[in-house]
């Protein structure tokens, strides 16, 4: 096989393996750079608690973005997550405050409803072969609208379990995090194991790489695709619960546009919108980058919070272009290889019956 594993092959391959991690490494470098800039400019920025606050303030976003990572890796998209988060806060608050349900049961119901909602969208996407964009857009309107059938106003929560979760602090080494952070990190760990070590996770990558191939390789495409949306639904509902802990209220206007923040975090974390490429740890970095932008702007004090959006917008552009450039390089390296093998080895004439 020496003819096929030429030197050029090996060079592209070695570079290719490194290149896989470039987007994630770029995000890591970006995060460190921004944290460094913050530490240089503002007193008190370089502190372990500032870092942990990033997680405390964005734990719910991390959970939602992890669900989104599954969907994007499979080559789909889920626009309903923000609305499902809002609906979850609404249902949770209503059950606990207005119906006087036990908080744990209410949380369980919310998580189940979110999962079923995602499952339903997944089924429609798969069995009716409709683009996920439009199905989850419909799901977004539906979930957001349903919030207001419960109440058009914010429902504030006074239930002791929720207030305790909101105020509780897990302390270590002079620093602290909220229980929500621990939950989010558990979700992250589970997602990592599932994506890298389970058949379900590997099938998600395979579908994102080439759905038709995955089918012909005998992989359970239908089951996996639907599961992915159910996971995203579950993560949105859990994100909703964590947001309820954070805000202590249920409101139809919560998490407006969070689906876009989640997508932005995943993409900045190095995943491709076309699917099949990306890492859930990248998503963590993506969320941290979004968080550090907000933190810098609040430390700056005079800047309007809209600057957050502007910076996120610029970063998204940069990352999309970066991925494109990497992709193009890879393809052109490959095509150089293939043209060379065509031109250097003139094949003997083949008698071919064209059909």
């Amino acid at each position: 096989m020496t003819a096929l594993t030429t030197l050029g092959d090996q060079v592209t391959r070695g570079a290719g393996r490194l290149r896989r991690y470039v987007p994630v490494l770029a995000t890591l470098a970006l995060f460190l750079l921004m944290f460094g800039i913050g530490s240089y400019r503002y007193e008190g920025f370089l502190h372990g608690q500032v870092f942990l606050n990033l997680l405390i303030d964005n734990g719910f976003l991390l959970v939602v973005a992890i669900g989104m990572t599954f969907v994007l890796l499979s080559g789909g998209i889920d626009l309903s997550v923000g609305a499902v988060v809002a609906l979850s806060t609404m249902i949770g608050a209503s059950l606990v405050e207005q119906q006087n349900w036990p908080p744990l049961l209410a949380i369980l119901v919310v998580l189940t409803l979110g999962t079923v909602f995602g499952l339903g969208m997944g089924c429609i996407i798969h069995y009716f072969e409709i683009q996920p964009f439009i199905v989850t857009l419909a799901g977004m309107f539906l979930a957001r609208g349903l919030c207001y059938t419960i109440s058009i106003d914010s429902i504030s929560i006074t239930d002791p379990v929720f207030t305790r979760m909101a105020q509780a602090r897990v302390r270590f080494a002079g620093l602290f995090v909220s229980p929500s952070v621990l939950i989010a990190l558990v979700v992250l760990a589970v997602a990592f194991v599932v994506l890298h070590y389970s058949r379900l996770g590997r099938t998600v990558y395979a579908i994102g790489g080439n759905e038709q191939s995955a089918l012909l390789m005998g992989l359970p495409v239908a089951k996996t695709k639907i599961t992915v949306y159910a996971i995203s639904g579950f993560c949105s509902a859990l994100g909703g619960v964590l947001l309820t802990f954070y805000m202590l209220s249920g409101y139809g206007q919560h998490a407006l546009g969070m689906e876009l923040d989640a997508i932005a975090a995943v993409v900045i974390g190095g995943a491709l919108l076309t699917g099949g490429s990306g890492y859930v740890l990248g998503t963590l970095l993506g969320v941290l980058v979004l968080g550090v932008i907000q933190t810098i702007i609040s430390f700056e004090g005079t800047l309007s919070s809209w600057w957050t959006r502007i910076v996120i917008g610029i970063l998204l552009f940069v990352f999309i272009v970066l991925q494109r450039v990497i992709g193009v390089r890879e393809r052109s390296a490959l095509s150089r290889l293939s043209t060379r093998s065509v031109t250097e080895k003139p094949a003997p004439p083949r008698q071919e019956v064209r059909t």
Partner: protein, 507 residues
């Protein structure tokens, strides 16, 4: 052949809306043989494979594997029963590693977690058995298509299949890669695997196969021992025409070479080039002349044609059309000057499949008139009617969607679209690719008669025989450079053109 068949298909029929794709077909496969399944497009080869692997259900007939009747609901079930398939396109995931592509869906696991080390170790072992030396942790997309195809085969044989189906595995491979594949196939055959091999390359059939089954129009023509069936007879069985007819097709009218080089030039290119696409070349095409372009895939034939049509802009040299210098800023300018271009990829770049035959045919004429001067419906019908008849497009129904036509007829619709604009120069890029022998002969005849009527043609084809038969002048392309221009007279033959392609100079 005393051994009992491992796979027997009896009386298989499969109906699609409007077509009987398979009609009472019998097929059997013996262990330890390479069995070629042959036939023209639409003969039912793919359908037979899809029926066998459970992609389609069967309407009638039975399949027996090792004597026991089976019926599969999908490829994964067939795989479990020991029937592995490698399809024409590489059906693997480019974003996953080589090792994972071989084992995904059946990875060794412990407590539900994939054991990556074990996956890599076994993948390396398996590839080693096939004498392939790959980095199993590299992404599949880092390797060439040929290697990917071999990885697909590695995946297929990991389950030690009783039956291995290879559906046109060689169409993307070059000759040394084909040798590599054949070595693996022979190894597997000697280990007792029954291999079903579909290909369009007849010399490969004779190189590797032990037996041949021929299908035609969904029906079984017969099963033959390869060594008992001469190649010409095989072709006759595939296309269903008598040998004499076939030979007549082969003997197209001899071209009175160089006779037309003195006619007035329609298009002259001098020093035309586009950096990275085509090196500078000179070319002139005269009235009534067919200029053939020969060369390997990727040698720059299509790129050259695109320059002449203005689809890509040249950055050197100039073009004169009808004696006047023309700046080809785009295809519109070329069309206005009477140049028409039938592209190679008729699906992606030429025809609009969801429009009718009539709409496709009038498209270019309408475009050249501009949208302010629409063609009346009556005029459209007249024109389309005339071309349906003269090009013998079947079915001759102008309101049929183009997607429902066969490849050959689609090609004729594309030709009609350009002929209707009455061009002075017609560029045809691979007009006979992927169409059956009969339609191919008709298109070749059409090229000849158009030239006889005074049209200039630039004819691009990967098939040397065809270029030689039709052209008055042959331009030979190699490495994006026109290495020779040969007047097609008596001492030009396939061998000489091939040598020009291979060595880059006329011997």
């Amino acid at each position: 052949m005393a051994e009992p068949a491992i796979l027997t298909m009896t009386g298989i029929s499969k109906q699609f809306p409007g077509v009987k794709a398979l009609d009472n077909v019998d097929f059997r496969l013996l262990p330890g043989e390479v069995h070629a399944l042959l036939g023209e497009n639409g003969a039912g080869k793919s359908t037979l494979i899809k029926v066998l692997t459970g992609v389609y259900s069967i309407d009638e007939g039975t399949i027996a594997l090792e004597g026991a009747p089976v019926r599969f609901s999908g490829p994964s079930q067939a795989q479990q029963a020991g029937i592995s398939t490698v399809f024409q396109e590489v059906n693997l995931c480019p974003n996953l590693s080589v090792a994972e592509n071989i084992f995904i869906g059946r990875e060794p696991r412990r407590f539900g977690a994939v054991r990556w080390q074990e996956v890599r170790r076994r993948a390396a072992e398996l590839l080693h058995r096939l004498q392939l030396d790959l980095d199993v942790t590299a992404r599949l997309s880092d390797y060439s298509i040929a290697v990917q195809q071999l990885v697909a085969i590695a995946r297929a044989i990991d389950i030690s299949p009783k039956v291995l189906i290879l559906d046109e595995p060689t169409s993307s491979l070059d000759s040394s890669e084909v040798d590599e594949l054949f070595r693996v196939m022979k190894q597997l055959r000697d280990e007792g695997t029954a291999i079903l091999f579909v290909t369009h390359f007849l010399d490969q059939v004779y190189e590797i196969s032990d037996r041949i089954t021929v299908l035609r129009n969904g029906g079984l023509v017969g099963e033959f021992l390869t060594r008992d069936l001469p190649q010409l007879e095989l072709v006759a069985k595939m296309i269903g025409k008598e040998l004499e007819v076939l030979e007549e097709l082969e003997e197209q009218p001899g071209r009175e070479a160089a006779a037309r080089a003195h006619a007035e030039p329609v298009l002259e290119a001098s020093g035309l080039a586009r950096t990275g696409a085509v090196a500078p070349f000179d070319l002139s095409v005269h009235r009534g002349e067919v200029v053939g372009l020969a060369g390997l895939l990727g040698s720059g034939r299509t790129e050259l044609a695109r320059l002449l049509f203005g689809a890509d802009r040249a950055d050197h040299g100039q073009i004169r059309i009808g004696g006047r210098p023309v700046a080809l800023r785009g295809p519109g300018v070329a069309m206005a000057n009477g140049v028409a271009f039938c592209s190679e990829d008729r699906r992606a770049e030429g025809l609009i499949e969801d429009l009718t035959v009539r709409e496709n045919i009038v498209l270019a004429l309408q475009a050249s008139r501009g949208w302010t001067r629409p063609l009346s419906r009556r005029r459209q019908d007249e024109l389309v009617e005339a071309y349906l008849r003269s090009l013998r497009i079947t079915p001759a129904n102008p309101e049929l969607l183009v997607r429902d036509l066969s490849g050959g007829n689609q090609q004729k619709v594309l030709l009609a679209r350009w002929l209707i604009t009455n061009p002075r120069l017609l560029i045809v890029d691979e007009p006979t690719r992927g169409i059956d022998v009969g339609a191919k002969a008709e298109i070749q005849r059409l090229v000849v008669s158009l030239a006889d009527d005074g049209m200039a043609l630039l004819f691009i084809s990967a098939e040397l025989e065809e270029v030689l038969r039709l052209s008055h002048t042959i331009g030979v392309m190699r490495d994006r450079r026109m290495v020779a221009t040969l007047a097609n007279d008596d001492d030009v033959d396939t061998e000489r053109v091939m040598r020009a392609i291979a060595e880059g100079a006329v011997a």
